[in-house]
Amino acid sequence: MPVDNLSRVRKSILPTEGDTWSIVAKRELPELSLDEALAKLQSWNLHVFMRAAGAMAAPGGGNPILPSDVVFIEPPLAT
């Protein structure tokens, strides 16, 4: 089955080096204002966002997005 035949699933990205909320917001949601894009990204990615306090305390903290995180760039699909 070619990749085009895969059913649609919720869109996500894997971060690249240096990705922050702002960088992801500008790259993936360019049609939105930065504030609006940030708010949406964070609401779609509570598994990352809600971890922020812990991650900030970690060495290298300050960017709560881990290099291995899945980051959703759209809301959950209607089921």
Binding site: S7, V9, L66
Partner: protein, 561 residues
């Protein structure tokens, strides 16, 4: 004359073919004849009324430490398990520099709930490389071990503390590839990684600081050998799980490797989510990717005391902070302090329906023996208090050595679990054998498969169930010459009574180094377990020969990339 003949049994050969009556002859470590055998043998097993199958393969265990003091991986072997895959979830005991030993022990303690004292008193640390660790566990090995190497450990080896802080440089990734090659050459069956686990500081484990570029580079090395990538995805969320299995599918296709993820639980409230995951699994398999979800057979039962941290309380920060970081005296003081107690009660209210159902299962004092087996609701009623308060009070009265059982917390929808286990693209596994030893027994899942899903529910045939945990598993993991009862195959064999096989009651035993205890289950209905042609265990005599090997073999043969 043969070395060993198993006579009069019904052979279920692991291929899924119907059972048939036959004798099985063994010379050395090989099955040499299946059929009517009249010749004599040096040793015989009477299998009349029993089935004779390939030994079971458990693909998700954490016996890495236990193998250093127990080459039988007790009691897994007695349940018919002849091969275990160790080193799952990004954690293996090698390669490991001396300076990282306590870091790894901390991670094992936090993630797999292995007692610190067991490492302290049961492990003589005399290896660093993967090859040296393999040499160590080979001594007295009675069960076969197919060891994964952990991604977090490779990161620590190459990057030291930076492994827990940042992505790797190109040079570090290249070095990690070299270390992985050394491990695969030494006999590793693949690489494990984790996207969810937290270390002893409650910070992400090293593998979670790896970006996709690093994982791809390591997968490319697995491709050189045709070896397995195992991951722990964010199993609590279907969208995240699907994103991970898409990532696995791309790696599988690009590097021609098998991949597997675990766990996948099914409950009454996530049927749709699991259906979505399985739909994606099917789609990716149809593309040619190999993305095997592992599903365990047993429901989720969790026991705990407040003498050791339990993952059950992970999502209750006030409780978890106290029991994870407090000394016994501090925990008891916190439980006794009215203000703190009030906070605990308030936080516990979020799980209101849970507490009354907990069963009190162990006490040391004579006064509390009368409550054993009762629910907290019953005890609370007798004492005129609430279930949570009685849990705290009993813990104080027992100086924290009061044990509680939360039974059937999930994965207990028989129809849904049975359907999932029967799915042709589901890999039966995820036992976690050897881990979480203070929370639940990780032994006997195979007995439960046969007693519950084959015999009681008839969710699958005996032949299908045997195939799932023998030849299917060997094929997925690339373990040659095992998983089938065929002439020429290695003689890893289980003999059991299909009418009575089951897991025993969960009990706790004090057999862990450092005066530790663990929850285990005895096997019922298993008669004889043969590993590499040697009788490794019998119901009559217990543990015997030690003929286990490290699989798939120390000399790994590379496959075409």
């Amino acid at each position: 004359m043969y070395d060993l003949v198993i006579r009069n049994g019904k052979v279920v050969d692991g291929s899924g073919a119907p059972a048939y009556s036959a004798d099985v002859a063994v010379n050395g470590n090989r099955i040499v004849k299946i059929g009517k055998i009249t010749e004599a043998a040096r040793s015989e097993v009477d299998a009349a009324g029993k089935v004779v199958t390939p030994g079971f393969i458990d693909p998700h265990t954490h016996f890495d430490a236990q193998l250093l003091w127990d080459g039988c991986a007790k009691p897994a072997l007695s349940h018919g398990v002849t091969t275990i895959v160790s080193g799952n979830c990004s954690l293996s005991l090698a390669p490991l520099k001396a300076k990282h030993r306590m870091k790894l022990v901390g991670m094992f303690n936090q993630i797999e709930e292995m007692p610190l004292k067991a490492f302290k008193e049961g492990v003589v640390w005399d290896w660093e490389t993967f090859s040296d660790y393999i040499t160590r566990i080979r001594k007295g090995l009675a069960i076969n071990v197919a060891p994964l190497v952990g991604h977090s450990v490779i990161r620590l080896w190459v990057m030291n503390d930076a492994a827990m802080e940042r992505t790797a440089t190109d040079a570090e990734i290249a070095e990690m590839q070299g270390v992985l090659r050394e491990c695969l050459d030494a006999g590793a069956v693949g690489l494990s990684t984790s996207y969810v686990d937290m270390d002893e500081r409650l910070q992400p484990v090293p593998s979670r600081y790896a970006d996709a570029r690093e994982v791809d580079a390591l997968a490319s090395v697995l491709g050189e050998y045709g070896r397995v990538l195992q991951i722990v995805p964010e199993f609590y969320d279907a969208d995240l799980t699907i994103a991970r299995l898409d990532q696995l599918a791309e790696l599988s296709l690009k590097h021609n490797i098998p991949t597997t993820f675990s766990p996948l639980f099914v409950n009454a409230d996530n049927l749709d989510a699991v259906a979505r995951v399985m739909k994606r699994v099917d789609e990716q398999f149809d593309r040619g990717a190999r993305v095997w979800p592992q599903v365990q057979t047993r429901p989720i039962d969790i026991s705990f005391s407040f003498a050791v941290p339990s993952l059950l309380f992970m999502r209750m920060p006030t409780w978890y902070r106290i029991i994870r970081f407090g000394t016994p005296a501090e925990i008891m003081a916190a439980f006794s302090d009215p203000d703190n107690r009030s906070k605990l009660l308030q936080e516990a209210s979020a799980l209101g329906p849970l507490w009354p159902t907990l069963i009190f299962r162990h006490a040391n004092t004579a006064a509390n023996q009368k409550y054993i087996g009762q629910t907290l609701e019953q005890i609370a009623k007798a004492r005129g208090t609430t279930p949570v308060e009685v849990m705290i009070d009993l813990s104080l009265e027992e100086e924290l050595d009061a044990h509680f059982l939360s039974s059937g917390m999930g994965h207990n929808n028989d129809k849904a679990v049975g359907d999932l286990l029967s799915h042709p693209r589901v890999h039966i596994g995820a036992s976690d054998g050897g881990a979480h030893i203070l929370s639940f027994s990780t032994y006997g899942d195979t007995g439960y498969l046969f007693s519950h899903f084959v015999r009681d529910l008839e969710a699958m045939s005996l032949e299908s169930a045997v195939k799932k945990i023998t030849s299917d598993t060997a094929a997925i993991w690339g373990i040659p010459q095992r998983g089938l009862l065929q002439e020429g195959y290695v003689a890893d064999i289980a003999v059991f009574d299909a009418a009575t096989i089951e897991r025993g009651e969960e009990k706790f035993v004090n057999d862990v180094p450092g005066d530790g205890y663990r929850y285990v289950r005895d096997s019922h209905g298993v008669d004889t377990v043969i590993v590499g042609g040697g009788v490794a265990w019998t119901a009559k005599d217990g543990y015997k020969d030690a003929c286990g090997e490290v699989l798939p073999g120390a000399v790994a043969e590379k496959v075409a990339a």
